[in-house]
């Protein structure tokens, strides 16, 4: 479908998904998306190492919506391209703002399969960086493990280009796909995020502990940093530190919040 056929006046059945698509289109036109940021913490030093940008859709009728309620439809309809680009642009611009205020904390954004499938993705990243003035080293791109496995060669080439210019690449949700540690070893990434499902049962869950330990070993041999997602209790923090994992993210440290409401001064004191 060319972009022009989207303007055609055709009769389309008014299903729920269609209504959502139509509202999403309006949301893009009116910029109804907002980014909420959740810190990734270095628990050993008590510092924030990055802020992950999480998109929210503020719909006048439905209220604030999390991505799981609309990303599916956005992917199906192709609207994810536009949403992804808006997120990229807004995240770079907002990060540049906090950099200008003296808080040089990188921003991390999630990228969808469809965005990566577009040949222009890398180009868009560099354009967004140039437009905002954010240094490439302050941008992290999160790609899910499943996404990498779809087309390893193409994604590897793309990621190499991004890394050559200083952008950091994160493998997201690791452990939920079907890749082996061996394949990950060959992939040029800087950070690996262990999925929350392995963190949930810590400090119990001996199997989970063993999995985390194994991931830690492989990752450090590849000079990759490890972030544990979904940390909600102090006991999980202790268990992860015992395993040698210092970078963490989760409600225990902070819930996602708008950049305007974040107290950047206190970010370095997130571990209370």
């Amino acid at each position: 479908m060319t972009i022009w056929s989207m303007f055609a006046r055709v009769d389309i059945p008014l299903g729920r998904s269609y209504v959502l698509q139509s509202d999403l289109r309006k949301a893009i036109a009116r910029r109804r998306f907002e980014l909420h940021y959740q810190p990734i913490i270095d628990a050993a030093r008590g510092e924030t190492v990055a802020l992950e940008a999480l998109v929210r859709w503020r719909d006048p009728n439905r209220g604030l919506m999390s991505p799981d309620t609309f990303i599916g439809v956005a992917e199906e309809s192709g609207l994810i391209d536009a949403i992804g680009l808006l997120i990229l642009e807004d995240a770079c611009r907002e990060a540049r703002c906090w950099h200008d205020r003296g808080y040089e904390i990188p921003v991390s954004i999630n990228v969808s399969v469809r965005q990566l499938d577009r040949g222009s993705f890398v180009d868009h990243v560099f354009r967004a960086l140039a437009l905002s003035g954010l240094p490439p080293t302050s941008l992290w791109i999160e790609i899910t493990e499943t996404c990498i496995m779809r087309d390893v060669d193409a994604i590897t080439a793309m990621v190499s280009t991004l890394r050559s210019r200083g952008v950091r690449v994160v493998i997201d949700d690791f452990g939920t796909g079907y890749s082996t540690l061996g394949r990950i070893k060959a992939f040029p990434a800087d950070v690996l995020k262990i999925d929350r499902c392995f963190v949930k049962d810590l400090p119990g869950g001996t199997v989970d502990k063993a999995v985390v330990a194994a991931i830690m070993t492989v990752a450090s041999s590849c000079n990759m940093e490890i972030v544990a997602e979904g940390v909600e209790h102090p006991a999980q923090v202790t268990a992860l530190q015992e395993l040698g994992c210092d970078l963490m993210q989760g409600f225990f440290f902070a819930r996602p919040a708008r950049a305007s409401t974040i107290n950047f001064e206190s970010l370095s004191k997130s571990l209370v």
Partner: protein
């Protein structure tokens, strides 16, 4: 974008956007296409086009196009009564325009976009019934226009028209002076007769309230000459009839009224647009003083107009100003026909609205009408107190 033949424009822009050589051209094409589709009421098509414009602009240094896109999207939000959203997007447009100043590629006369965006913000303030903020935005619009090398008559006339709507109701001598100066030098064109009419009529009422009756008659005569419709011409003639009556020239007042009445017969009121129908209300209010039955007939005629008011005029959901105009007329007519209780009730209702809106001279005029009906000392004293600021004008003279 102010093309009358939207269909033709749509085709041309669609072709231009399809042939776009780069992201900026594509974004521009989609922006304009969206605007035309929006004007045609094809909301989804407009959203699609604007979403593509946004996508094309990602990572592109084209603040002028972003400013333009945001302006049209904000305008659309305002039309669909999403006031807060319209305000947010309009402010984003101004921020982009500010950015464009630093990196102008010369795509647009950005100052004109900025002026229109301030005008939109002023319309939002009007809906929130904040005339001071409304004026502040319009002044910012003029300031933006003054930065252009070439005068832009359309934008200036549009801003003046909006300022006129404020000074008609709220006494702001410095703003009136600004309108007077700008109106005198502006090159009015045939495409903006409604705006010229509003501006001259506003100046007429302003002069009258300052006690400059000669100037008031001159401006109202100017307004009549620029009336965009017959109904508006009748309104201007009735203004002069009222003013003649207020200065004691009863014969001239009656002559003007009769002239207006003759013209009323030529108007198909059912096809009148928006505030054009005010001429009937105004005529009824004036006729109440000397021909109550005829005044009642005019009210009946007014109430029989089936078409709703222009959506743009009722964008706030309730147009209190308009309701108060109606109460003023209905009150005068009811009282003249012997229903004193209903008459006073209508007028009291109008008075409380004028007070709430801060339309002081309207309140003084209504209070005077109440005093002349009830003859109560307290009502007469209230009317005098309210008219005290307008001693030199018709309001300061005995009723």
């Amino acid at each position: 974008m102010r093309l009358r033949r939207l269909g033709e424009a749509e085709g041309a822009i669609r072709r231009a956007a399809q042939a776009a050589q780069n992201d900026v051209e594509r974004a521009l094409g989609c922006t304009l296409l969206g605007t035309i589709l929006d004007r045609q009421g094809y909301e989804e098509g407009a959203d699609s086009a604007w979403a593509h414009a946004r996508e094309s602009l990602c990572g592109v240094a084209a603040s002028e196009v972003r400013a333009e896109l945001n302006y049209y999207v904000a305008l659309s939000a305002w039309r669909s009564k999403d006031i807060d959203e319209a305000q947010r997007i309009a402010r984003e447009s101004l921020a982009e325009a500010e950015q464009a100043k630093c990196s102008s590629a010369g795509l647009f006369p950005t100052a004109v976009s900025v002026a229109f965006t301030y005008e939109l913000l002023s319309l939002i303030e009007a809906l929130k019934e904040r005339p001071e903020s409304q004026v502040a935005h319009l002044r910012q619009g003029f300031a933006a226009l003054s930065s252009t090398a070439r005068p832009h008559a359309w934008a200036e006339a549009s801003l003046l028209n909006n300022l006129a709507s404020v000074i008609t109701e709220v006494r702001m001598p410095d703003v009136a002076e600004l309108v007077r100066e700008r109106a005198a030098t502006l090159r009015w064109t045939g495409e903006m007769p409604g705006w010229a009419y509003n501006v001259y009529r506003a100046l007429g009422w302003t002069e009258a309230l300052e006690g400059n009756d000669m100037a008031a008659f001159r401006e109202l005569r100017n307004a009549e000459e620029h009336a965009p419709t017959l109904a508006r011409r009748i309104e201007a003639i009735l203004d002069r009839s009222f003013l003649f009556g207020a200065v004691g020239e009863m014969l001239s007042a009656r002559e003007r009224f009769d002239e207006a009445e003759q013209l009323c017969k030529l108007v198909d009121w059912n096809t009148t647009q928006g505030e054009d129908r005010y001429a009937l209300l105004w005529g009824a209010e004036l006729a109440a003083a000397f021909d109550p039955r005829h005044a009642q007939a005019m009210v009946v005629r007014y109430n029989a107009i089936g078409r709703p008011m222009d959506p743009a005029l009722t964008a706030s959901g309730k147009l209190r100003r308009w309701q108060a105009y109606e109460h003023d007329a209905f009150g005068a007519v009811a009282a003249a026909n012997g229903d004193i209780e209903a008459g006073v009730r209508h007028l009291q209702s109008a008075l409380s609205t004028w007070d709430a809106l801060g339309f002081k001279w309207r309140a003084a005029k209504t209070a005077r009408a109440i005093g002349s009906i009830t003859k109560a000392e307290s009502d007469i004293a209230d009317a005098k107190r309210r008219a005290a600021s307008y001693q030199r004008s018709w309001l300061g003279r005995p009723a």
